[in-house]
């Protein structure tokens, strides 16, 4: 074929750069869903169909609400970027498997409306989308949101509740393997720690989430817990216990790393992670919430703009 006639082909004109790394919002969310898949399967394995029901309901509601909001706001539909699916799935991961249907639907609606669309959509939210919905429900219906109060028909125990009311010795006998495998009472997805850990590492190595945040977060939890544990091992549980209970791992890899509500540069990211992790232990020890992770992350979300102001001098230093 000849290129000499100027009109023989229709050329696309666009803006440089003309090469691209190939990463897109959609591809990132696919990878995130893939990383969450093992935890989804284990959640169903441990908690059965009720868990599947909660996850499906959250996703369907969230996506429908997102589409509706975009329609009302006169925006282009962008539900096919799967960011709503991921946010709602993460929200579902924080719920007890036995949550009533209206709670799930209300929560997903709140996530999308107040946690995302109210600020202008994806990427503009100062707080983690999934946690906004979770927090609003938690302060309104604390009992319904408490896995220990909701999961009555299980032989598992809630390690954090036991720690809070019976001290570190009572949880010393809980095997870490059980905790890793999700044999504990907890939110349906958050308790699948091993699966989440693997998924999280996958995302970090692919550069989809920032390892600085996850590493900082886990460090924060471990160091803070280690300090207390060393001072008084009878009263305070070991760092590994804290790492593998509640939603620590989910928080470290999937919640704290949400790009919009976390800092952009390396050093701020590490601080942010560390602070978040340390806060988890402080809330668990001194606060009234057993888990502490969601609130710790919401708190550091608020600090994120401040941390972002720690900036290097631009090239050449002005």
């Amino acid at each position: 074929m000849s290129n000499t006639s100027p009109t023989s082909v229709l050329l696309s004109v666009s803006a440089s750069p003309f090469w691209h790394c190939g990463r897109t919002v959609r591809a990132h969310r696919y990878h995130t869903l893939l990383a969450l898949l093992p935890a989804v399967l284990l959640a169903i394995w441990h908690w059965g169909l009720p868990a599947a029901r909660v996850m499906a309901l959250a996703i369907v509601t969230g996506v429908a609400v997102e589409a509706l909001c975009q329609r009302l706001m006169g925006r282009e539909l962008s539900i096919d970027d799967f960011s709503g699916v991921v946010a709602c799935l993460l929200f579902a991961f924080l719920l007890p498997a036995a949550s009533p249907w209206w709670l799930v639907m209300l929560g997903a609606t709140l996530c999308i409306t107040l946690g995302k669309m109210a600020f202008g959509g994806l990427g503009a939210n100062p707080l983690n989308t999934s946690l906004v919905g979770w927090a609003l429900l938690y302060v309104s219906w604390p009992v319904l949101m408490d896995p220990n109060a909701m999961q009555l028909t299980t032989q598992y125990i809630d390690p954090l509740v036991r720690l809070k009311y019976f001290g570190a010795e009572s949880v010393a006998s809980i095997s870490l393997t059980d905790l890793l495998l999700g044999k504990q009472i907890g939110a349906l997805g958050a308790s699948q720690t091993l699966a989440l850990l693997l998924g999280g590492i996958y995302l970090a190595t692919r550069g989809i989430i920032r390892w600085e945040i996850s590493a900082g977060f886990i460090m924060g939890v471990v160091v803070m817990a280690a300090i207390f544990h060393t001072v008084n091992p009878v009263q305070y549980a070991s760092p590994f216990f804290h790492m593998l209970t509640g939603s620590t791992i989910l928080g470290a890899f999937f919640l704290a790393t949400e790009p919009a509500s976390s800092p952009d540069r390396q050093i701020p990211m590490m601080f942010y992670g560390l602070l978040g992790g340390a806060m988890v232990i402080i809330i668990r020890i001194f606060g009234e919430y057993t888990d502490g992770v969601p609130f710790a992350i919401l708190l550091v979300n608020l600090l994120s703009p401040l941390l972002d102001s720690i900036r290097p001098k631009p090239f050449g230093g002005k």
Partner: protein, 407 residues
């Protein structure tokens, strides 16, 4: 493992391609289109005039910009505000020949030599500013561009001629040749420094940093190998400059050619046997910083260093207006340590002064912010727009000040 956690993990960004093949000559164009903006036409250069290769067509008032010569024998078919069009004609045997000038023999030095080079079509501005130490940029400027290694390895005489002429211009005291790490090149009397050959290290500020260890140190300047080659070419042939070296490349194919100034994009791609499909993008310049052309009869100029085809479907398409989702990838990648996300947002909403506060002037125009943007925002385009607006504003202000002081 280091690469694993990084956003930038593209083997094409390694600027060493192991190519040593000498440049082939490009096609003899059937028509050329030359840019004449700012030039004064020479006598007898008008429509229907017959011109021969190496004949002066137009002069530029500035010493920094080379005069314009005809690259082919042919007839001027059109002259407008911006361009001169020439159609090739079969060359009769009695065509006048341009007498070669041996610049090296002539012995001119300093500004006289610079003027002489300008009169032979060289853009002397790109030969580097006056400085204490001049660094020759021996890295390929953009990923995908591959002419550096052959220029240094296989066209040594041209290189030497250029070095000698450039020394006589007396614009620098010392010279350093920056070459890729792992390369074994050496030239008598030229100090070489090895730098990591990863894009964007080929950009001048970063090159200087790699050589000196400092950011924007005093007394250093850079010259691109491409410009040095042009100087050497004039030195060796003694003829006015009417050609440029470009890499012509597509996804599978790539080669280096010496092509005539004003050659059309379509003919060059034909010559390199690159077939186009609908919705492909043709890029003049490098794949990261170049510009796409809308028609195949657009031409390349003396400064052009690459011509690339990006096949439809090889990169995710830009989907209309997409807003920044704050993923932070551009912030992490920016070699100038700026926040392209903020810059592009300010530019988007015409807040140009805010861009200035965010040091937009430090941006090196590397294009990496757009390369990594997962929302496929035209980040670089926004930044260029803001820079342009700010420059216009400054020029306007200056004009007003002059008016006030002269009134």
């Amino acid at each position: 493992m280091k690469q694993r956690f990084q956003i930038l993990n593209d083997p094409r960004f390694h600027l060493v391609y192991g190519i040593s093949q000498r440049f082939s000559d490009g096609p003899s164009p059937s028509k050329v289109r030359l840019n004449r903006e700012g030039f004064t036409l020479a006598q007898n250069v008008k429509k229907k005039a017959v011109v021969h290769s190496g004949m002066l067509l137009a002069e530029h008032p500035s010493i920094e910009k080379g005069d314009l010569f005809s690259p082919i024998y042919g007839e001027i078919t059109e002259i407008n505000e911006r361009s001169i069009f020439i159609s090739a004609l079969p060359q009769p045997p009695d065509t006048p020949e341009v007498e070669p000038v041996d610049l090296l023999q002539e012995g001119l030095e300093g500004d006289e030599l610079v003027m002489r080079c300008k009169k032979m079509g060289l853009n002397t501005r790109s030969l580097g500013c006056r400085c204490e130490t001049l660094i020759i940029n021996g890295l390929n400027p953009d990923p995908g561009v591959t002419w550096t290694e052959p220029m240094l390895n296989s066209h040594i005489r041209t290189f030497h001629a250029a070095m000698e002429l450039h020394r006589r211009m007396g614009r620098f005291k010392n010279v350093i040749l920056a070459i890729p790490q792992g390369s074994h090149l050496s030239y008598d009397g030229v100090k070489t420094v090895h730098v990591p050959a990863e894009y964007p290290n080929s950009l001048n500020p970063l090159l200087i940093k790699n050589v000196t260890g400092e950011e924007n140190p005093e007394g250093f300047g850079c010259i691109g190998l491409h410009n040095l080659w042009s100087l050497g070419r004039v030195g060796r042939t003694g003829l006015p400059l009417t050609e440029t070296v470009i890499t012509i490349g597509s996804y599978e194919h790539s080669g280096n050619y010496i092509v005539k100034d004003g050659s059309t994009v379509g003919e060059l791609l034909d010559f390199a046997r690159i077939a186009l499909k609908d919705h492909d993008t043709v890029v003049r310049g490098g794949p990261l910083r170049g510009e796409s052309v809308d028609r195949l009869d657009r031409s390349i100029t003396k400064g052009t260093y690459g011509l690339f085809v990006v096949e439809a479907g090889t990169i995710p398409p830009m989907e209309g207006h997409s807003s920044c989702i704050n993923c932070g990838a551009c912030v992490l990648i920016c070699p100038a340590r700026l926040s392209p996300s903020n810059l592009s947002r300010y530019a988007e909403f015409a807040l140009h002064e805010r861009c200035r506060k965010e040091h937009i002037d430090i941006c090196m125009d590397c294009g990496l912010c757009g390369y990594v943007c997962i929302a496929r925002r035209p980040v670089l385009q926004y930044i260029r727009l803001a820079k342009q607006k700010l420059a216009e504003k400054d020029a306007q202000k200056q004009r007003e000040e002059i008016k006030i002081t002269s009134a």
